[in-house]
């Protein structure tokens, strides 16, 4: 049993190593996506319109405002009388960011526990929100360390989505696409090349074949996760607030679900082209209904129900929870069970459909 499983897995890895294109895709797809998303996030947002209410009006407070402008994140286009006036400007859409510096600003700076001022942010665009938020820990002029300069207050987007929220979800999106596609193609390719006709005349069991095909891709999926995390940290300073082991465990469970889906796709498709099409067919609802594109809470009830069936939905919650909020897997266990159930059901379906026959 184990021997056959390993033989199939080993063969799969060998073939993969020799298939330059697929091997390239394992690295290329995540890299391309993360760079596209990452730089789209980063480059688009420059010189956000801002207003300043400077009640301290000291040389230091003026330097802070100048430093914020020098970062090119904001451009101060107006000044305001106070926090209410800033809110009014945000409401009116005149500005996307407001900087409020209270009169006791310099005294509050000495108190390390409390932020000295306030940063009001239009959160309706997560991209803008995430970038402007960086100002809240901007180093003080002439210093290197990040400070507790501003308390960030996000408006219009209570759940606080940000690019930091996109990258964790993006891990899931990339995994879904590559994992479903690779497994689906791995089996359909054997059918197309005629290998399957020989393989199913051997004593190999359907389950051995299915699991043997899955194992290498779990490892590949984890390599992809590492790559995405590394790139998004190195280039986009996405934090890892929770335990990285938790994230890997969550990834394994999600990868298994995606692979089982891929196996089922492979039993439905006759050609590699069909397998690709079917994968895209499963990919679209996942992107749209998982909370990756649109906030889950804003979706119609029925879309939410469908969303709950989709593995990506649960993974997005898991990875945002772990990476952004620093939650641990124990707290998030309600998101793990649906993924395991999905894996079980789809693996059984695929194994049943793959009945070692040609008809």
């Amino acid at each position: 049993m184990l021997r056959r499983l390993l033989a199939i897995a080993g063969k799969e890895v060998r073939q993969l190593k020799r298939d330059r294109l697929t091997f390239g895709m394992i690295i290329g797809v995540p890299l391309l996506q993360i760079l596209l998303f990452g730089y789209a996030i980063d480059l688009d947002v420059r010189n956000v319109n801002a207003a300043v209410a400077d009640h301290a009006n000291t040389s230091l407070s003026r330097q802070v405002v100048a430093a914020a402008e020098a970062s090119q994140i904001v451009t101060v286009t107006r000044s305001a009388a106070g926090p209410e006036a800033l809110e009014a400007l945000l409401d009116a859409g005149e500005i996307d960011a407001g900087i409020y510096i209270p009169h006791d600003f310099e005294r509050r700076l000495i108190d390390a526990d409390r932020p000295a001022g306030q940063l009001l942010i239009n959160g309706s665009d997560p991209t803008v929100e995430g970038i402007v938020r960086r100002l809240s820990s901007m180093p003080l002029p002439g210093q290197q360390q990040p400070s507790k300069l501003f308390e960030a207050r996000t408006y219009y987007n209570p759940e606080g989505r940000s690019p930091v929220n996109i990258v964790p979800a993006l891990i899931g999106v990339i995994l879904h696409l590559t994992m479903v596609l690779f497994t689906a193609i791995a089996i359909v390719r054997e059918r197309e090349r005629g290998n399957l006709e020989l393989l199913i005349t051997t004593p190999v069991k359907s389950a051995e074949l299915m699991l043997g095909k899955i194992i290498p891709y779990v490892l590949i999926g984890l390599i992809q996760v590492s790559l995405i995390l590394w790139v998004s940290q190195a280039l986009f300073q996405v934090p890892i607030r929770g335990n990285i082991i938790d994230l890997y465990l969550a990834s394994v469970v999600f990868i298994l679900a995606a692979l089982a889906l891929g196996l089922l796709v492979s039993t439905l498709a006759k050609t590699q082209f069909q397998a690709t099409q079917l994968t895209i067919f499963t990919f679209l609802p996942s992107i749209l209904l998982s909370g990756f594109m649109f906030p889950f809470e804003g979706m119609p009830r029925i879309a939410q129900w469908i969303g709950e069936i989709i593995p990506l939905t649960h993974f997005v919650r898991l990875s945002r929870g772990i990476l952004v909020r620093g939650a641990d897997l124990g707290e998030l266990h309600t998101e793990v069970w649906p993924l395991l159930a999905f894996f079980g059901v789809f693996l059984v379906l695929a194994t049943l459909r793959f009945n070692k026959r040609l008809d």
């Binding site: 060998r14 020989l198 051997t202």
Partner: protein
């Protein structure tokens, strides 16, 4: 050779939609002999073989292979069958040795003598030098030997070969058949499909398939002897005219060109077929040399398919 039966099939039928690819075939394949399926492309050889291996579910009929019912007990049978598919089905992006090692693991062959077993297979099938070569880069003959090495690695009792020599040069074909006879000597039952007459002649038993039907069965020698037609060989300088003339002659069923000669099949009620032909050609002023000859397998094949035609059209008319 003994009388034991390796494959026993009754009423074996496979329909794909409205097409009946295999039609009510009855087979009794004896153990430790070479049994041949002879038939043109599309006659249902592969489909029959796939049903015998449990890869396709028959639309009707019963199959017993090595005492196991198929498809019901197909998994048990698979331990004892070696199957060489029509199209090369090992992994082209693995080396010769990797392919064999993979199969060994899949069949769970004992690890203790695995190395010797593979070495011996490589030697026996002249693949030792290709050991590290990717299967996809080998010649037709080498691929075929690798496929056979793979199909026999677990020493199956029944070896099923679907058109094994279609992509192979004549010398390799002869070598290949030598190996088959060795295997049979060791007790293996071989089922082989082909569309080559010379290969069909070497089988111990032969089934002729035509459009899904089994139209003749027996030892090649008996088939040739019992042919239900007179066989006449004609040598002439104007074969085209001779052929036209004979096809219009009463009592002549068919005329086929075999190399430089014509073979005419005549109704079995005609006492001296050569005389009939000679007369017909003389009437048409065609110079020729005509003689009654012993039938060959090609004649058997033509006669059998012609009968199948008639039955077919009679069935259509009804």
């Amino acid at each position: 050779m003994n009388d034991a039966i390796a494959i026993d099939a009754k009423g074996l039928t496979k329909r794909f939609g409205s097409l009946t690819a295999v039609d009510d075939v009855k087979l009794q394949i004896p153990e430790a002999a070479i049994y041949g399926f002879l038939g043109p492309n599309g006659s249902g050889k592969s489909t029959t073989i796939r049903m015998l291996c449990g890869l396709l579910t028959p639309s009707a009929g019963e199959v017993e292979v090595l005492g196991f019912r198929v498809p019901g007990q197909a998994e048990e049978v698979k331990l004892h069958i070696g199957y060489m598919t029509q199209k090369f089905s090992l992994y082209e992006d693995l080396t010769v040795e990797e392919n064999l090692r993979f199969l060994a693991a899949v069949y769970d062959l004992p690890r203790s003598d695995l190395k010797q077993r593979i070495d011996r297979a490589l030697e026996q099938y002249w693949l030792t030098e290709q050991r590290k070569q990717f299967a996809g880069t080998m010649s037709g003959g080498q691929k075929q030997r690798l496929a056979l090495a793979g199909a026999t690695l677990h020493r199956p009792r029944l070896l099923i070969l679907d058109e094994p020599t279609s992509a192979v040069d004549p010398q390799s074909r002869r070598d290949f058949w030598d190996i088959l006879f060795e295997l049979v000597e060791q007790g293996t039952t071989v089922l082989v499909s082909t569309h080559y007459m010379d290969e069909a002649e070497r089988c111990h038993n032969l089934a002729i398939l035509d459009r899904g039907r089994l139209v003749a069965e027996g030892r090649p020698r008996d088939l040739v002897r019992d042919i239900a037609a007179g066989v006449v060989e004609i040598e002439t300088d104007s074969p085209k005219q001779a052929r036209e003339r004979l096809e219009a002659t009463e009592g002549v069923h068919s005329v086929a060109q075999l190399g430089t000669r014509l073979h005419a099949l005549t109704d079995k009620t005609i006492a001296d077929p050569a005389e009939l032909i000679r007369q017909a050609l003389k009437d048409a002023d065609i110079d020729s040399e005509v003689e009654n000859v012993v039938a060959n397998l090609e004649d058997v094949f033509v006669a059998a398919t012609r009968l199948n035609d008639q039955e077919g059209s009679r069935a259509d008319a009804a």
